[in-house]
């Protein structure tokens, strides 16, 4: 396979995915209720006064028919199989009695065509791809192409069949008025169609990928086998990632651009309205600023942790026990830590204030005072993270070859120079790692705020995650909360990208 052919394969896959997504979008959103209502009403009026047919084509249950009788407006009703239709009553010539109804289903035939078309287009591309492969001697790639084609065809045919079947099953029988016959295009069930579309999308991608693989295998068998092995190894975690990370993020993005709440089933698209709303929300900015200030505890703790690690790196008696003691807070449950610190910082009974009192200093309401609440939270976070950072630094210190330190000693470096010129630069990857992951984690910080201050006093400790939580679960504004989450997500993505870049840079250095 040449590079151009490979590119064509990739393009085909892309086209295929885009087309399928388009179809799915069309299936879910292409229903214009107003237009359909007008159409249904026009059809009903055209039929006005005709003799009712004995075998009326609609599968409406009694309740729905009675609803029809009371109201002349077109109604959106649901079929027993779950599909949606617009109905309009057909009355007798006197415009008095309802003698039937016109039902208008979605325009599924177009959908069927638009589903089948990209399928065959992709199939054509795939076949063209195979014909273009001159250097392929073995039969493998050809078999793969045929197999892929069959897969494609089967998936496409299944979709089309499903759509046509549905038309036949729900079409008016012999005695129905001819006008109705053409109108009543029966839809398949939405869920099933969606499933088929998904299958189609996956099979399309798989087909092209298979062709690609097989062609490449003729060239470099070992590499393909390796690739195959690698993919099979990461498949489980990939699936996990898809289901529990990618899918929720996709859902989050969807919610953030729709009006979405638990009670209403109508969830119209609103574009960036929620983002505009949070941009004008002073509390959101407050939370963002608090988050940035809060994140400052990370570098401060790092300095302390490095100091501790340098001390605990010495071969002293009892040093191992001390290491464990410093590490312990990190293992402790955050809620428990929060509760203990709540008590330590308590205005009336807290240990800290008791200590202040013995020094004849005024008592401070650490968590109740807007000026001290956030610093107090930062103190607790620092206390909890110190052990972890210390252990990471300790590992970093012990990874520095002893001979480098000795070389520096021989080269005449004193202790401070050894630290500044050798130890610190060699710890740089560790430091960047701690800083970036620390900041990322600080933006996730929720438990402490939730347990100790609930964002208060006066929003002094209101951080982004807490804001999101409150917006979603207390104010029930899931869509706005989703928009905030998207912003947070973007922020963290930038940080993560930064971390990746530095990690890569360091790897190139070493």
């Amino acid at each position: 396979m040449t590079r151009g052919e490979r590119r064509a394969a990739a393009l085909a896959t892309l086209l295929w995915s885009v087309a399928t997504i388009g179809v799915a979008w069309h299936a879910l959103h292409g229903i214009d209720h107003a237009a359909r209502s007008r159409e249904a009403l026009a059809r009903a009026h055209a039929l006005q006064g005709r003799a009712p047919s004995p075998a009326f084509p609609m599968h409406l249950d009694v309740r729905e028919l009675s609803a029809l009788q009371q109201d002349e407006r077109p109604l959106i009703v649901h079929d027993p199989d779950g599909s949606e239709l617009v109905t309009a009553p057909v009355k007798d010539a006197d415009d008095w009695e309802i003698i039937g109804a016109v039902g208008l289903y979605s325009r599924w035939r177009e959908m069927a065509i638009s589903t089948a078309l990209p399928s065959f287009a992709a199939l054509l591309v795939a076949i063209g791809l195979m014909v273009g492969v001159r250097a392929v001697r073995t039969v493998g790639p050809r078999v793969a192409a045929v197999g892929a084609g069959a897969l494609f065809g089967a998936a496409a045919a299944a979709t089309t069949l499903q759509l046509r079947d549905a038309v036949v099953a729900l079409a008016p029988r012999a005695a129905a008025p001819p006008a109705l016959e053409r109108l009543a295009l029966a839809p398949p069930s939405l869920a099933f169609t969606g499933l088929l579309l998904a299958l189609l999308a996956v099979s399309g991608a798989l087909a092209v990928a298979t062709i690609h693989w097989h062609a490449a295998q003729a060239e470099r068998p070992a590499r393909v086998r390796e690739t195959l092995g690698a993919w099979s190894f990461i498949a489980p975690s990939l699936a996990h990632l898809l289901v529990f990370t990618i899918a929720p993020v996709g859902f989050l993005l969807w919610i953030s651009v729709h009006d979405w709440d638990l009670l209403s089933s109508d969830r119209p698209f609103v574009g960036l309205a929620h983002f505009r709303e949070i941009a004008h929300d002073p509390l959101f900015w407050r939370a963002l600023r608090n988050g940035l200030v809060y994140a400052l505890y990370v570098p401060v703790t790092m300095v302390a942790a490095l100091g501790a690690a340098l001390v605990l790196d010495q071969p002293l008696r009892g040093i191992k026990l001390l290491r464990v003691v410093v590490f312990l807070p990190y293992v402790a449950s955050t809620v428990a830590v929060a509760l203990v610190w709540q008590w330590l910082l308590h205005r009336d009974f807290g240990l800290l204030n008791a200590a202040l009192a013995t020094l004849h200093l005024p008592r401070v309401d650490w968590l109740g005072n807007p000026a001290t609440a956030l610093p107090a939270l930062m103190l607790v976070s620092a206390w909890g993270q110190l052990g972890y950072m210390m252990v990471v630094y300790l590992a970093g210190l012990q990874a520095i070859p002893q001979s480098l330190i000795e070389a520096a000693r021989l080269d005449g470096a004193d202790a401070w120079q050894r630290f500044r010129l050798v130890v610190w630069p060699m710890l740089r990857p560790v430091s960047t790692y701690l800083l970036l992951t620390g900041i990322i984690w600080s933006f996730h910080g929720f438990t402490l705020v939730y347990v100790m201050t609930e964002g208060g006093p006066a929003h002094a400790t209101d951080v982004l995650v807490y804001r999101i939580y409150q917006t979603a679960w207390e104010f029930r504004r899931f869509d706005v909360a989703a928009a905030m989450s998207v912003v947070l997500c973007g922020l963290l993505l930038v940080l993560t990208a930064l971390q990746w870049r530095t990690v890569k840079g360091e790897a190139a250095d070493a």
Partner: protein, 349 residues
């Protein structure tokens, strides 16, 4: 430059391991002394004691007549080239070489002049802006060397600096190091367990075993006149042949018999270098079978087995006249046998 003197140096590690046991050794000003011995005999420990990276249990270290035993490394004015070179990975070659000067607060023209000089001396001027990871083994070794010479120390310590290089680069670097030594007139203590390195480079070789200094002297003197079986065995490749036996009167009797100018009657070991075994029929030749002939070009190694089972190696000039399976006679060239006491390996004559 200065001389280096170790006196009764002892290093006992925690746990009772004796790394260095009463070593007294002097490296004269501008001399090149090689410290050789089998693995684990305490060579590195001696270097570390000299460098100040370890504290001795007892004994003293003097550099240029100054007692430095309890001084920290940076006040001793010694440079050490580590086996793994210990270049700072985050610094460029230039910064590595400049490091000893920079920590002494040297800067500007003087610093760059000395860095450039050192780099040019070692022919790594073109590599100055690379990181150590981007260098080959030989280039790293040169960079480490440049870092050592740039500050013009009182003496140099080398810890098997060539052991990470391939054979060809090693041979070349050997010659370059000798030339460098001549040019700098540096005092060098050079640790190796490669006896070829020691014999070809050093003016003085000191042989160690199990923490003790066995013998020191000019390389050829040690080769010809070893004080003990251990020294004899360590120098020379292939190793010296040994045959157990007994000295009586003026003869040595064993699987090989020869004259021995030893008065005492004692259980003894005859040591004979491969080049001192003579093949061919003779009156006092011992019968042996050729097990393998290894032609090396200008000479050949002939491996033999005596009737009594002892294995010997003979070195003969040019191509060997025999081949595997042949029966030959073997004897010791007159006056070349070395005799050691069987009990403790000390030299009889």
């Amino acid at each position: 430059m200065a001389d280096l003197a170790l006196a009764h140096l002892v290093k006992r590690f925690a746990g009772g391991v004796v790394g260095v046991d009463d070593v007294t050794l002097t490296v004269g000003e501008g001399a090149f002394t090689a410290l050789v011995g089998p693995s684990g005999c305490g060579k590195t420990t001696i270097l570390r004691l000299v460098a100040g990276l370890e504290e001795p249990t007892s004994g003293t270290v003097q550099i240029g007549g100054r007692d430095v035993t309890w001084l920290p490394p940076r006040e001793r004015d010694v440079a050490m080239v580590f086996q793994n070179y210990a270049l700072y990975p985050h610094l460029t070659v230039r910064e590595n070489i400049a490091f000893p000067l920079a920590v002494r607060r040297m800067a500007g023209a003087e610093l760059s002049r000395r860095v450039t000089n050192a780099a040019e001396l070692l022919e790594i001027g073109a590599l100055l802006d690379r990181k150590p990871a981007q260098l080959s083994g030989g280039q790293r070794q040169r960079a480490a060397l440049a870092r050592a010479i740039v500050r013009e120390p009182a003496c140099f310590l080398f810890d098997e600096p060539l052991s990470n290089l391939d054979a060809q680069v090693r041979a070349q670097t050997r010659a370059e190091l000798v030339a460098l030594h001549r040019r700098l007139g540096a005092t060098i203590l050079y640790v190796t367990h490669d006896q070829v390195e020691a014999m070809t480079m050093a003016q003085t070789v000191a042989v160690m075993a199990r923490g003790r200094l066995l013998q020191e002297g000019a390389p050829l003197r040690l080769y010809r006149d070893p004080a003990s079986l251990a020294v004899a065995r360590f120098l020379g490749s292939p190793s010296i042949n040994t045959v157990a036996g007994r000295t009586t009167g003026a003869r040595f009797e064993g699987a090989l018999a020869c004259e021995a100018r030893v008065a005492a009657c004692a259980d003894a070991v005859l040591g004979v270098r491969p080049e001192h075994l003579v093949l061919g029929p003779a009156m006092d030749a011992a019968p042996a079978q050729v097990t393998l002939v290894e032609p090396l070009g200008p000479e050949s190694l002939v491996r033999l087995r005596l009737r009594s089972g002892e294995e010997l190696v003979a070195r003969v000039a040019g191509e060997a006249a025999c081949c595997a399976g042949d029966a030959v006679g073997v004897r010791v060239a007159a006056g070349t046998g070395l005799f050691f006491r069987a009990a403790d390996g000390t030299r009889l004559a």
